[in-house]
Amino acid sequence: MSSKSHDVEALIAQKYRHGFVTDIESDSLPPGLDEGVVAAISRKKREPQFLLDWRLKAFRHWQTMREPTWAHVHYKPIDYQDISYYSAPRAPADAPKSLDEVDPKLLATYAKLGIPLHERARLAGVAVDAVFDSVSVATTFKEKLAKAGVIFCSFSDAVHNHPALIEQYLGTVVPAGDNFFAALNSAVFSDGSFVYVPPGVRCPMELSTYFRINAAKTGQFERTLIIAAEGASVSYLEGCTAPMRDENQLHAAVVELVALDDAQIKYSTVQNWYPGDEHGVGGIYNFVTKRGECRGRNSKISWTQVETGSAITWKYPSCILKGENSIGEFYSVAVANNYQQADTGTKMIHIGRNTRSTIVSKGISAGHAENSYRGLVRILPSAAGARNFTQCDSLLMGSKCAAHTFPYMEVRNPTATVEHEASTSKIGEDQLFYCLQRGISAEDAVNMIVSGFCKVVFKELPMEFAVEAQNLLSVSLEGAVG
């Protein structure tokens, strides 16, 4: 083991493929945050009064809050006055009306990321909304979706075209003052995606949003709201990247999902924000609040996430299981290499009768990384017959990384069933040698072992993205064990 471990470390080398900067003119607010900035963002977006009021209320509340310190992550204090809260690619006078009007440099950026907004998207049959820094630049397939009655557009467009839906649902799952980062987002969020699937409609294609932070010293605060009405179903995927910079950049998003009676929402994330270099310099601080509410009976919300990026990940996609017989699921692969820190998990709040939840978390740590699973299963007195199954497995590569598990359980109904399984294993030198002895290279062997470890999660991803996730995983762990 000892003679091998120096190889392990020598080979831990991260290669980030999306670290380019697009040289594009942008319209940004100077760094700093006060009520004037909040109002300026709202004005730039020509928002209705109710939204400005909502933002200001959130901002005032945020000012009374303190940054949380309970997560198992360490970072220097963030100077919230040193961040620019708005950056938009400068579009000629008006925003682009069709893809043809989108700055070709932007399209090239997305093509480089493997997100073709043009033909290939058409072939793939996936509708894409692309968010660049603070604004949404293009949404494909809008018309085809409209024919099915599905609304899929940027959050800003939704504010203008569907204000009643926004007013009805915004902040009903993640209230403006929910937590420090959610409050900040509520005050300054600039764009994001909006989805509404009307009653009885199965969304005819996968919906997808790609987020990219480009401008320096910019924070990204997008907000996503997805509503599946009675009997509707939708599958949604988000992907994220950022350029390589040696300062840390803040990403504080909020995602709200609402599933009414018999509705289903499947939300998948492939998160690949820049993680910082091998010495831990730079990278995105990813402080995200994601929550779904199974508001109706027999509804189902399923989170699947593959988290490979970010310097720090602080994220707990959760389900509030309010409707009777509703189902919450959380499938996660979190990879932390080099000096990455991940504190991620989920919350399953059982309120309705016979609600069920499943949690499968796979943490992979390499280099000097810290990887924590933090999960809460809360079963309220009203949740008779509720059931939860939790499985948390950690895989360690090398000897300098760490894995932690913080499961919290509160069961207040005697008819509930809660199961928890946990394991931690070191990527076996034995497993590795076994593969080598069969002639398989170390790189292939590690990929194989890690994929095997993550298999149950990958099979939850939409088919088109399972391959991408697998590739991403092998890039993130490139050379992590030799």
Partner: protein
């Protein structure tokens, strides 16, 4: 000479385990290496396969004229050296046949051959599985995942049959097998016997040698080969015990 070991010494965690091994194995031969617990049998197998936990402190090993010790573990495997593990590891979620196919393709690639056709490969695996009396469920299970001890050993031999190594070192492949399984495993090993290949059996027990008849038998003790002979040596060992070899050596 297929394998030529000269004065091989090795240690693990600072402790000398092999103290000058000399051994020659020609193509077409089956050798048995016997010896008491802690004599260095498994260490020898692991050192030959290239496990880095073991530090080679002296001597040399040539495999088909190449310096084996200079080759990485995966190169040795691709060159045709196979180790049947005493304790095959489980690799959860990795399909048993997927691993085997990756192994075969790695070997073919190293030899400049194209990747194996998936259909052809499946046919080959099924044929060998039949020989090893394994059920088709092994096609879909994870590598050694939840296998019984006997199933793991059969799986090792299955891999060997598919990979067709020039030199197979089987480390206590017989341990933990009941008599029926022992026969199946032996049949598998015997099916690989060929003028171009050699097998080295590492074993405690004479029992295996009733089914796989060796050309030569060596007794390993204290990290050295104390005595070599033909099949009758194994029978004599069984009758007189290992102490007899040690004593006769002293005398």
């Amino acid at each position: 000479m297929l394998l030529k070991i000269s004065q091989l010494s090795a240690r693990v965690a600072g402790k000398a385990i092999l103290n000058g091994i000399d051994l020659e194995v020609a193509a077409g031969e089956v050798h048995a290496i016997m010896g008491p617990n802690g004599s260095g049998k498994s260490t020898l197998a692991q050192v030959l396969a290239g496990r880095e936990d073991y530090e080679v402190t002296g001597g040399s090993v040539s495999f088909e004229g190449r310096d084996l010790l200079a080759m990485a573990a995966e190169e040795r495997a691709r060159a045709g050296l196979f180790l049947g593990f005493q304790y095959p590891v489980e690799i959860p979620g990795v399909n048993n046949v997927y691993l085997l196919k990756a192994a075969l393709n790695a070997k073919r690639k190293a030899a400049g051959e194209p990747e194996v056709d998936a259909y052809e490969f499946l046919g080959l695996v099924k044929e060998k599985m039949k020989l090893m009396q394994m059920s088709e469920s092994f096609l879909t299970r994870g590598v050694n995942e939840g296998f019984s001890g006997g199933e793991k050993k059969r799986n090792e031999v299955l891999q060997m049959l598919v990979l067709e190594p020039k030199l197979a070192i089987l480390d206590e492949t017989d341990s933990g097998l009941d008599i029926d399984a022992l026969k199946v495993v032996s049949k598998g090993v015997n099916s690989l016997r060929d003028p171009g290949r050699a097998v080295v059996l590492v074993t405690h027990y004479q029992r295996l040698l009733e089914y796989i008849v060796p050309d030569k038998v060596h007794v390993l003790s204290g990290g050295r080969i104390l005595k070599s002979g033909d099949r009758s040596l194994a029978l004599e060992l069984e009758r007189r015990g290992y102490d007899w070899v040690k004593e006769s050596r002293v005398a």
